[in-house]
Amino acid sequence: MSNLAGNPDISRDEIVARLKNELVELLALESSDEINEDTRLVEDLDIDSLGMVDLVMQVEDCFDVVLPTNSDLSKIKTFRDVVDLLCKPQSTGLNSTAIN
């Protein structure tokens, strides 16, 4: 499995692009233009508790990672926070050994 935190082959831009595609599919959006870094998951994308389950599943499958169970999803408010969760594990409680 890949380790995003230590994988220089995946740029932040690529993570953003792939994540947008996943959300477009998951939420049946018309295009990824509806999502920017400040887009709020709950207020703007209407992601509820069930949506969060789907989002976790999509993110883990798409990036071949396992989010550690001590991740605090309540701190994930925006699209940027999701990207950061994958890019900056230390700042979100996601440690590099946990993504494996």
Binding site: S49, L50, M52, V53, D54, V56, M57, E60, D61, V66, L67, P68, T69, N70, S71, D72, L73, S74, K75
Partner: protein, 245 residues
């Protein structure tokens, strides 16, 4: 397990060291554990002619009843005893029909094996109980009480694991089509999660339905629930060999 409940007689705890919301949780969850006589009926119905799962239901019910006894004694030790009046509303009501109606409404396929649905529900319900008792223990400032909460949480962990093991075992003997129903059935339950106590008017009147378990949860505990459940159930989208691993 609880080999000797005699050790829990005449407990004395300093009420001022226990937050009000923990005491409230204890009162409602003690009654909820007592409500197991209602809940086991729905288990037995789902497990129909499966003797082993029916046996498990009987054992499970007895263990949850012990939790009621323990919690009741803890409440007495705090000077917050339950009274006979607290039980009147709980014992009333048509739980079986109300819950059955809900249970049938969340089925993704009318022909799905009810055992599978009940076990999926059991995994969610028992893990919610693990988190709830863990949260109560963490908020409690009395080591002896904390130890008791931990002990109950340990039982609930075992119940949670039993449901997982039984679900995996059931999936080994079912078709690919049936196994493929686990993930969407989990989503259907999660999207309309109603704990059994939601179907007892007494709890609904006191606003102690599903909130009874989730009220004490921090954001981190809610996250843990979502992550653990997602990571567990999504495995069933793969062949059974991968699930067992």
């Amino acid at each position: 397990m609880w080999p000797d409940l005699a050790e829990l007689k005449d407990l004395k705890f300093d009420r001022s060291r226990v937050p009000d919301d923990v005491v409230q949780f204890m009162r409602s969850t003690a009654l909820n554990e007592y409500g197991v006589a209602h809940y086991v009926g729905s288990y037995l119905k789902s497990y129909n002619n499966d003797f082993k799962l029916r046996m498990w239901s009987a054992i499970w019910a007895a263990e949850e009843y012990v939790h009621y006894v323990v919690l009741r004694r803890m409440l007495e030790g705090l000077g917050e005893p339950l009274t006979d009046e607290d039980f009147i509303g709980l014992e009333k009501g048509d739980f079986v029909n109300s819950y059955s109606e809900y249970f049938e409404s969340i089925l993704i396929d009318p022909d799905i094996d009810r055992r599978m649905v009940q076990l999926i529900f059991g995994v969610i319900q028992e893990f919610a109980a693990v988190i709830a008792y863990t949260a109560a223990g963490e908020k409690c400032n009395i080591p002896e009480m904390r130890a008791l909460f931990k002990r109950i949480a340990r039982d609930e962990t075992r119940h949670f694991r039993f449901n997982q093991v039984a679900l995996e075992s059931l999936c080994k003997s079912c078709s690919d089509e049936e196994r493929a129903m686990v993930w969407p059935q989990f989503r259907a339950i999660w999207g309309n999660l109603q704990m059994p106590q939601e179907h007892i008017e007494y709890f609904a009147d006191l606003d102690m339905g599903t909130e009874l378990y989730t009220g004490l949860w921090s954001g981190e505990l809610k996250s843990r629930m979502i992550l653990r459940m997602t990571q567990y159930f999504k495995k069933f989208r793969q062949p059974i060999a991968a699930v067992a691993g």
